[in-house]
């Protein structure tokens, strides 16, 4: 039996549902020696901002049980250089590319998106990292407020007809309401989750291991959190959901898909082996074949709840 792994989000078709997550696969060009990015469903590039960002001072990373904390601080080349150096090489990536955008005001996001639209970048859409403080709203993160999220989504929706994906934070009381706000404001999809607030302290030096003290927890440790978020969102919105958080195997991906995700992104697992995501595609096909599933979509949201 041959299984159909293709998946569509708002009219855009992807080879398969295995994507790689922003910030965990560079700009898609760095690990060509280690994997074949053209096999992937899509590559989400590192968050791009209006201006280049040096990122936070080191140390930026520490391992925790089955996870890691990072405080990279959105180090990135800025949209100008992204357009000059990455966009021209996008066909080397060999699959759909989604550009992740971060910003500190609605204007920031608009600026980056307008630049990309203007240069007719051959990307299939945008993922919007809303886990950034909005300097205009008293440094409150966009991601914690349905109203802010809605306003930002609306503004961006006016600028692009490409895929518009809002990336949600788990550090909120009601992630589903934020998802709903994004849906109502015109998002094509939401992705969940970004990293979970986490902290680890060096008991010898007494300083937190990462420079920003509190950082973002990712990796298998947070997988149950991501799956729960996707499940909750799926009960509230109708647009596709992109599942992220601690995925290391096709089985993990299937958990997310059953919970309601249409596609998934592999993040931290790329660091151990940049070929992890690609190798999951074969595993996923095997799972589908073994379970007599012809179309991946039969699985999406296919969880059988206990009550």
């Amino acid at each position: 039996m041959s299984c159909n792994l293709t998946v569509e989000i708002a009219g855009v078709s992807f080879k398969n549902p295995i994507f790689v997550a922003s910030g965990t696969f560079g700009y898609g060009l760095e690990t060509q020696e280690l994997t074949d990015s053209s096999s992937l469903g899509a590559v989400i590039t590192k968050s791009i901002t209006r201006h280049p960002r040096e990122g936070n001072p080191p140390p930026r990373i520490v391992e925790t049980p089955s996870g890691m904390i990072n405080s990279i601080g959105l180090a990135n080349m800025g949209v100008e250089r992204y357009i000059d150096t990455v966009i021209p090489r996008i066909d080397e990536i060999g699959t759909a590319v989604i550009t992740n955008i971060a910003g500190f005001s609605i204007d920031d996001y608009l600026y980056v998106m307008e630049k990309l639209e203007a240069c007719k970048a051959p990307i299939c859409g945008y993922e919007i990292n809303i886990s950034c403080p909005n300097v205009e709203a008293g440094r409150m993160e966009f991601a914690v407020d349905p109203e802010l999220t809605g306003r930002l989504t609306e503004s961006l929706r006016e600028v692009t007809k490409k895929l518009l994906i809002i990336k949600l934070s788990p550090n909120v009381t009601g992630i589903a309401s934020i998802a709903l706000a994004a849906e109502q404001a015109g998002a094509d999809a939401v992705s969940a989750i970004n990293t979970v607030f986490g902290m680890s302290i060096d008991t010898q030096s007494r300083s937190p291991y990462v420079q920003t003290n509190v950082g973002g927890l990712s990796g298998p440790a947070v997988r149950p959190v991501g799956i729960a978020c996707v499940y909750k969102i799926s009960r509230k919105v109708n647009i596709p959901i992109i599942g992220i958080g601690g995925i290391t195997s096709a089985n993990d991906a299937v958990e997310y898909i059953l919970a309601g995700a249409s596609v998934v992104q592999v993040g931290t697992a790329n660091y151990k082996n940049a070929d992890t995501a690609r190798s999951m595609i074969d595993e996923l096909e095997l799972y589908l074949a073994e379970n007599g599933i012809e179309n991946l979509s039969e699985l999406t949201g296919g969880v059988i709840p206990n009550e």
Partner: protein, 262 residues
């Protein structure tokens, strides 16, 4: 850069708290690594430790690579438990290499397990007949597994004088460098040692390359985790600003002038 399941051919305690592991890694060795480069090691198949551990290559013979390591935490403890005959998941070769400067005589300095890349560099220079001096420091004789051969330009130091020259590596570096026409220092070791070497090099305007450490997420440039403060005046390709540099791509070897310790 390649990922390889290498077979462990030796893994033993060679000095107090210091282990040596040899692996047969034809693919990584086939990429012709050079002294200064490192490999990134997955110490366990499970995801309890999602991150690999970086280790300098301490020697190469044909398809065989050597590392020399200290048990520091849980990961290096697991490393010490790989039996001969087992397989270990390696990523490499990674990073840049020591670079000779025409006309300058290399003075190699290794402190603690920082001796790893230095030993290999020493070996390479030796086999190429390049005149140089190597200084290896430790706290006491128990931490040394090499012989003090000052006549051959291979000098050990110990803080307590139990073998080789008594004291840190610094006085020895000073006396050797100040006697030389045009020395170039290559150092790897604990941060306080590197700071002292850098200070000396700057004071005496001696050429100096340092191998530095940094916590790493990926070692392949995709996480931006390994940044260190960097004073180069040019914008680095990977770190998007003159202030930081990625140790995994632009390092671990830096011109001492370009880096700043916290």
């Amino acid at each position: 850069m390649v990922i390889e399941r290498a077979s462990v051919t030796a893994n033993e305690l060679i000095a107090e708290g210091i282990f040596q592991m040899n692996v047969s890694a034809p693919k990584i060795a086939g990429e012709n690594p050079s002294p200064g480069q490192f490999i990134n090691i997955s110490v366990i198949d499970s995801w309890f430790h999602p991150l690999r551990r970086p280790m300098s290559i301490a020697g190469r013979e044909g398809e065989s690579l050597k590392i020399i390591y200290k048990i520091f935490g849980a990961g290096t403890r697991l490393l010490s438990e790989f039996p001969v005959g087992s397989f270990i998941d390696l990523l490499g070769p990674l990073g840049n290499t020591f670079e000779l400067t025409e006309g300058a005589t290399p003075v190699l300095v290794g402190g603690g397990v920082g001796l790893a890349p230095i030993l290999w560099f020493d070996e390479t220079l030796r086999s190429n007949g390049i005149d140089h001096t190597t200084i290896i420091g430790a706290r006491h004789s128990g931490e040394h597994f090499l012989e003090h051969c000052p006549k051959e330009g291979f000098i050990l130091t110990t803080d307590d004088g139990t073998v080789g020259i008594k004291g840190t590596v610094l006085p020895t570096i000073e006396s050797i460098c100040l006697e030389m026409e045009n020395p170039k220092l290559f150092a790897c070791g604990p941060e306080p040692m590197l700071k002292a070497v850098k200070q000396f090099a700057e004071k005496e305007t001696v050429l100096c390359e340092l191998s530095v450490e940094s916590y790493m997420g990926c070692a392949t440039g995709i996480c931006q985790g390994c940044a260190i403060e960097h004073k180069s005046s040019s914008i680095s390709e990977h770190s998007y600003h003159e202030r930081f540099s990625l140790v995994c791509l632009d390092g671990p070897i830096y011109n001492a002038k370009d880096i700043r310790f916290p």
